[in-house]
Symmetry: C2
Subunit: 469 residues, 2 copies
C-alpha cells in the first residue's frame, strides 16, 4: 500500500471535527499521554502514531475515516490497549483513533434481555451494570477491569466462562461499524436468529480492526446464575490434570469454569499477590473448577458427580471454596498469572488452542520442544476450551536466541497445535506478533479469500494496516 | 452474468467424473427422478436443470465445479430440497449438484464431544446417532426427518430448541467447502475458540450455497439432557400469549422449547394428524413449553416457577404431558402445523423475526394488515426467539391478488419487523422468493459489501446464481 504523509491541513481538519483538546501529538501539551497510545500489553513494542484522535461518536469517526480514506492515511483503531497480539499498535504510524470517549451504556433492555453499548465501555463496568438487573454477560477476559468491549469484539475474546457460556461472538446480535470508506452501517438485526444475507456481524468480530471501527454493539444477555461453587484440585501430574478435563465433560458435567495452572503459574501468581499458599512438593498442576446455576442443592449434587470423576486421578486434597472471599481469592490468583509472569520476567505468550482431549499431548509437546531448544515455559489457561496460554520465559536466553532463535520452536509448537486439530490463537488474535506464523494455520487459498474480503471493505488498505496477513 | 450453455462435451466429462448412472437428464432413463430436482418445498415453483449430478465426494464435486467455472455454467447445490425460500431451485438452469451420496457420519469423537459428518446426512439420523452415545445435537428444524445437515448450514436453520441451545451456526466448528473455483478448503479449526483470521466458517453458514458447496462439517456436541417436561398452555388472547413469552425469560426461566400456535394452527394440525383435540371456544392461542435438564426434581421446581408466572395471565387449564407418548404427540402437532397448512390450502410463508418482547406488536400488525388487504393468515413459530412463521392463506383470493397484490402487504409486514428491531428471515433464508424484499432489511452499502464478497469467492458468478441479492 502507498500511504501518504499526514499534512498540517489534515490535522487542522481533525481539530475541526473532534476539537483541539482531543488531538494529541508528540509536540502537543499532552505529549506524555500521547506516548501511551504507541504501545499495548504486547511484550515491549512501541510504534509512534503521527496523531492520536479521541472522537466522541460515530459521526466524528466517520468524518475522520472518510478524510483518511481520501488521502490514503493509515488508521489504527484502539480500545483500552490491553491486547496481547499487538493489534492496536500503529505500525504504519498515521492516525490512532481511540474509542475511549464512546463509553456509554445506551440501554439495558430487560424486556428483551438485550443491551446496547458503545465500544469504549469497560467489560467489568458492563457486567456489573447488567448484573444489577439480574442479568448476565458472561465473556470476561483476564483484563476485564480495564479492557473495552469494542476490543473484546475485535479480538473475539474469551475468558474463563467461555467453557459453558461461549465467547464474545456468541453474545453479539448486531454491530454498528464505520467502514474504511467512512460509511456507517449496522451489520445485522437485534434478533436471536437471522437468515438474511451474509453474516457481516460475525465477519466483523475477530477481524482485529482491519475491516472498520465498531461504534455501537447490541448484545444478548441471559439470566444471572445466582449460585456457584469453586474447587481447587491439585494434581501430582500435569498430563493427568489435562486428561481429567476431557473426562469431566464426557460425564455430562459442564462447569462454568475449568482452568489449568502449572505449579509455577499458581506459585508466581500467589507470590505476586502476597497470598500465602503452601503447596505440597509433589503437586505439579491444578484445576480450578467452577459450577454455577440457580439452585445450590443442585450444584452440590453436581459437585458429588465431579468428585466421583476426579477420584480416579492421582490428586491431592481438593479445596472447596464456600465463602465469597475464598472464591474471589482463588479466581484472583488465576486472573493474575499473566501479570505475575510479566512482573517476574520478560516473556512471550502464545495463545494455543486444540480440541480439549488433545491438551495432554500439547502440554507434553511444549515441554519437549522447550527442552530441545533450551527454554522454560509457564503454562496455564482455559482447559475446558482446550485453550492453553504458553508463556515462554526469557530467563538466561541470549539476545540472539530471544530475538531470532525462538522462531523455529514457536513454529514447531504451532505446527503441533494444527496437527492436533487446533490453531494458533484461541482468543488473543493474530495482530502483529503472530503474523509471521499465520501460514501454519491458514492455507494460501483461505488467506487469498481474506485479502479479497479486506479489499472489498477497504480498497485503499488504510484500516489497521500491517495486521493479520 | 453471461452464462454459457451446457455442451455435450461437458456432459460427457461429468459422466467420466461421477459415472453415467449419476448423471440425470430430461431425456435419460430416470427422467421422473430428474424432474424432482427442479422443485423444493417452496410454494409451487419449478425450474428445470439441464443436468443433475450425484457425485460421491468432495473431489468429484471439485472436478465438476472447476469445469463449470471454466465454462461459465451455473451450478445449483442441493441438499434434500426441503427449503422454504427456493434456495435449491436452479433458476438459471445449468447443473444441479445433489449431495445425497455424501451421507456418511465419519466420526463421533466422544473424547472431544465433536462429530465429523458429510453434508447429506439427515438431521434426525445424526441426532439419533449422537444420542445413542449420550450426546446432543440440538438444532432440529420441523423437517428434521428428511432435511440434510448441509442444507441446515446453508440456510442457518433453527428449530424449536434454538431458544435455549442456539441455532445451527452455534454448533459448527469447521467446514470443508468446494469453492466456486473448484478449490477445496477448510474454513477454520476443530476448536471451541478461534481468533485466527476472519471467520470464514460463519461466512459460509447462511450463505445459501452462493459461496461454495459444503462437503464436510465438524460439529460440537453437548451432553444429552436426560429429562424433560412438556406443557401446553391455552390462552384466551393471542397477544397475552406473546406477552407471557417475554415475562418467562425475565423471571430467569430458560425453556428448551417455547412455541406459539394460533388456534387455527393447532386445530389444522391435529385434524391433519387425526389426533382428537377439543378446544374450549374461548381459547385463541397456545404456548407449548418444554423444560429440560439432567434432574427431574429440578425441572419440577422450575415448572412451579413457570406456573407462578403464567398465573398472571388469562389462561385455560394447563396440560402437563408426563408420558413419553403424550410429549411426542404434542410436539408432533407443533411440527405438523406447516404440513397441515400446505395440505389445506395454497399458502405463502413468511419467516419473520423480532426481539421477543415485540411479538405482540408483530402479531397485532399481521392481523391488521391482513384485515386491510383482505387475507387470512395462520401464525405459529418459535416464540422464545421472536421467530413467527406467518402463513398467508390463499382462500378466495383472486389470481391477480395472489400473484401480484400481496407484494405490498408483505412489504408492510417486513417493514414492521424491521421497525421493531427485527428482520425478514429468522431461519428460512432469502433464497429466491424473498429476494424482492431484501432491500427492506439490508441497506445498499451492506448489499454492496455482500456482492463484493460474492465476487471474491465466485468471480464468474456461477454458484447458485439468482439468489439472495
Amino acid at each position: 500500500m502507498n500511504f501518504q504523509p499526514l499534512t498540517p491541513e489534515l490535522v487542522a481538519a481533525f481539530e475541526q471535527i473532534v476539537g483541539q483538546h482531543h488531538v494529541l501529538t508528540a509536540q502537543g501539551v499532552e505529549a506524555d499521554v500521547y506516548a501511551d497510545y504507541g504501545r499495548d500489553h504486547t511484550e515491549d513494542l512501541h510504534y509512534a502514531p503521527d496523531v492520536v484522535l479521541r472522537p466522541a461518536n460515530a459521526e466524528e469517526i466517520s468524518q475522520i475515516v472518510r478524510l483518511c480514506h481520501e488521502h490514503h492515511v493509515p488508521v489504527t483503531p484502539r480500545g483500552a490497549g490491553t491486547g496481547l497480539s499487538g493489534g492496536a499498535l500503529p505500525v504504519h504510524n498515521g492516525v490512532v483513533i481511540s474509542t475511549e470517549r464512546l463509553n456509554k451504556i445506551i440501554e439495558i433492555d430487560e424486556r428483551n434481555l438485550q443491551a446496547t453499548v458503545e465500544p469504549g465501555v469497560i467489560n467489568q463496568v458492563f457486567q456489573e451494570a447488567v448484573q444489577a438487573k439480574g442479568l448476565f454477560y458472561p465473556p470476561d477476559p483476564a483484563s476485564k477491569g480495564s479492557c473495552f468491549l469494542g476490543g473484546n469484539l475485535s479480538e473475539s475474546s474469551g475468558g474463563p466462562k467461555a467453557v459453558k457460556y461461549g465467547v464474545t461472538k456468541d453474545y453479539v446480535l448486531n454491530v454498528q461499524v464505520v467502514l474504511p470508506t467512512g460509511d456507517i452501517i449496522w451489520t445485522g438485526a437485534n434478533v436471536l436468529k437471522n437468515a438474511t444475507g451474509y453474516n457481516l456481524t460475525q465477519l466483523m468480530i475477530g477481524s482485529e480492526g482491519t475491516l472498520g471501527i465498531i461504534t455501537r454493539i447490541v448484545f444478548r444477555l441471559i439470566p444471572y446464575p445466582q449460585q456457584n461453587i469453586v474447587l481447587l484440585v491439585p494434581f501430582r501430574n500435569e498430563e493427568q490434570a489435562a486428561a481429567a478435563v476431557s473426562e469431566i465433560f464426557r460425564q455430562g458435567i459442564v462447569p462454568s469454569g475449568m482452568e489449568f495452572m502449572e505449579r509455577e503459574a499458581i506459585e508466581w501468581s500467589s507470590r505476586y499477590l502476597n497470598i500465602p499458599l503452601t503447596l505440597p512438593e509433589d503437586i505439579l498442576a491444578h484445576l480450578l473448577i467452577e459450577l454455577d446455576g440457580q439452585d445450590l442443592d443442585q450444584l452440590y449434587k453436581e459437585a458429588e458427580n465431579l468428585y466421583g470423576v476426579l477420584e480416579k486421578y492421582d490428586i491431592g486434597e481438593i479445596l472447596l471454596a464456600d465463602t465469597v472471599a475464598q472464591k474471589e481469592e482463588l479466581w484472583k490468583i488465576r486472573r493474575n498469572v499473566g501479570n505475575s509472569v510479566r512482573y517476574n520476567s520478560v516473556y512471550k505468550e502464545e495463545d494455543t488452542v486444540v480440541p480439549r482431549a488433545e491438551l495432554p499431548k500439547l502440554l507434553k509437546g511444549v515441554k519437549e520442544i522447550g527442552r530441545r531448544y533450551g527454554f522454560n515455559s509457564v503454562c496455564y489457561g482455559h482447559a475446558g476450551d482446550g485453550n492453553l496460554h504458553i508463556n515462554i520465559i526469557r530467563g538466561n536466553l541470549s539476545d540472539e536466541m530471544w530475538n531470532h532463535g525462538l522462531r523455529e520452536p514457536i513454529k514447531e509448537l504451532f505446527r503441533l497445535c494444527v496437527s492436533l486439530g487446533g490453531t494458533i490463537s484461541g482468543e488473543h488474535g493474530i495482530g502483529l506478533v503472530q503474523k509471521p506464523y499465520i501460514g501454519i494455520a491458514i492455507g494460501e487459498v483461505q488467506l487469498e479469500l481474506m485479502r479479497g474480503i479486506k479489499r472489498v471493505f477497504d480498497p485503499h488498505g488504510i484500516m489497521n494496516p500491517g495486521k493479520i496477513f
